[in-house]
Amino acid sequence: MATLELIGFGSTGWGALLLLAALMTLCVTASALAIGAVLGAIISAAKLSGKTSLVALGNVYTTVFRGVPELLIIYLIYFGGSSAVTSIGKALGYEGFLGLPSFLAGALAVGIISGAYQAEVFRGAYLAISKGELEAASAIGMHRGLRFRRIIIPQVLRFAIPGLGNVWQLSLKDSALISVTGLAELMRTSQVAAGSTRQYFLFFIVGGALYLILTSLSDRIFNGAERRANRSMPTAAMGKA
């Protein structure tokens, strides 16, 4: 059938391009999540620091980057970032254009947004740590750094996993907006295929299905991580010892 051929892997099929695009979406989202993790950790630390100025800074960050449409932030980073890099290049004596590559700009933009959400996730996770357990750590003489490394980090990660799963889901879909930078991710490739073949429904449905596949794969990973992290938690199966 002609339809099958179109989404297949033959010479006239878009299968290979679409799969490649799905992989690109996966890579962009994963990079964005990593960038967001770093930013989120810094911002949540600022919000938890208790210092008025740092808390205010953290609040501004999370309010702005959650409150402003993602597309605008992507524009800002993609075009604004390029101009900045170019003018730095000029100052250093380099003539001509020094762009942020689409991939980097996209991952950075989605990462900055994801950082705002992750900051909230980390903050919630930190607050969920039992105060008593922190006191117990102090009581045996653990200094700040050790307490942070041995008690706080592992528990924050444990409590943050479900929230991070949600952020991943959000970032996966924000990555669809990176198409304005021309990066051949899944959304743009579906649109290009639709426009080039004029088979709009076919390619939007196939694109949607690929997103669902990505979602179910990542769901599986996050569920696995959650189970692993929660093995120290009571379960119905284990009951009282």
Binding site: S130, G132, S138, I140, G141, M233, A241
Partner: protein, 259 residues
């Protein structure tokens, strides 16, 4: 070496806002002393223990652990320790067993116990594990070494918390109501462990509601009331006829009323 003063507290005061919870408490513990701290709810017992190992900073007063004074800076109504390093060091010499156990939920029992020795005292891991297993044997939960705290019963958690504190080889142990919220059978078990420690000569400060422990295990009973030591003495003086204050007699009147 009996007779050495392990812990000495001089005239400790502590306020929360305008509410003065501790109003000048002094106390000395020699090597091998087992001191029971009794008192009504809200009399400041927990706060006192928390001041000793600096989970709260006393507003005023002096604390000496094993002959070393904790240096404090008093400035403008607030106080803070002069050196965080000294605080960490002092804390590692004081074992604390919390009423709510506070085991680290993300570690197994064995990991909970070796955490301090390995990472704070920086002792060799293998040695710590061997010692931890011996401790678990002693408190009777060796079979739970690889379980997580959430999978243990209250009494087992309580004993794991004691083992965790002991693994630090503390000079003094502080217990905050180690047996409340346990059923009578488990109370018996935990008290047995503490009695064994007492017999080995461990210095202990125990906040408790268990009169049988105060009477039979400790060698001194301190009764607190409204942030002050109302009366204190040997168990015989306190529980026997005559010696005890009327307030203490009224306090223990609640117990054993029907027995």
């Amino acid at each position: 070496m009996p007779g050495v003063t392990r812990l000495s507290v001089r005239n400790i005061r502590k306020s929360f806002g305008t509410h003065e919870v501790l109003r000048g408490i002094s106390l000395d513990a020699q090597d091998g002393d087992v001191i029971s701290l009794l008192g009504a709810s809200g009399s400041g017992k927990s706060t006192f223990l928390r001041c000793i190992n600096l989970l709260e900073t006393a507003t005023d007063g002096e604390i000496w652990v094993d002959g070393e004074q904790i240096r404090m800076i008093h400035k403008g109504g607030t106080s803070r320790p002069a050196s965080q390093k000294q605080v960490d060091h002092i804390r590692s010499e004081l074992g604390m067993v919390f009423q709510s156990f506070n085991l680290w939920s993300h570690m197994t029992i064995l990991q909970n116990i070796i955490e301090g020795p390995v990472h704070v005292l920086k002792r060799p891991r293998a040695e710590c594990i061997a010692e931890a297993e011996a401790l678990l044997e002693k408190v009777g939960i060796a079979d739970k070494r690889h379980a997580y705290p959430a999978h243990l019963s209250g009494g087992q958690q309580q004993r794991a918390a004691i083992a965790r504190a002991l693994a630090m080889r503390p000079k003094v142990m502080l217990f905050d109501e180690p047996t409340s919220a346990l059923d009578p059978e488990l109370v018996g078990e935990v008290l047995r462990v503490m009695r064994a420690l007492a017999e080995e000569g461990m210095t202990m400060l125990v906040v408790t509601h268990e009169m049988s422990f105060a009477r039979n295990v400790s060698n001194r009973v301190v009764f607190m009331k409204e942030g002050l030591v109302e009366s204190s003495g040997t168990p015989d003086e306190m529980f026997g006829g005559g010696g005890a204050s009327p307030a203490f007699r009224q306090f223990i009147g609640h117990f054993g009323s029907g027995q």
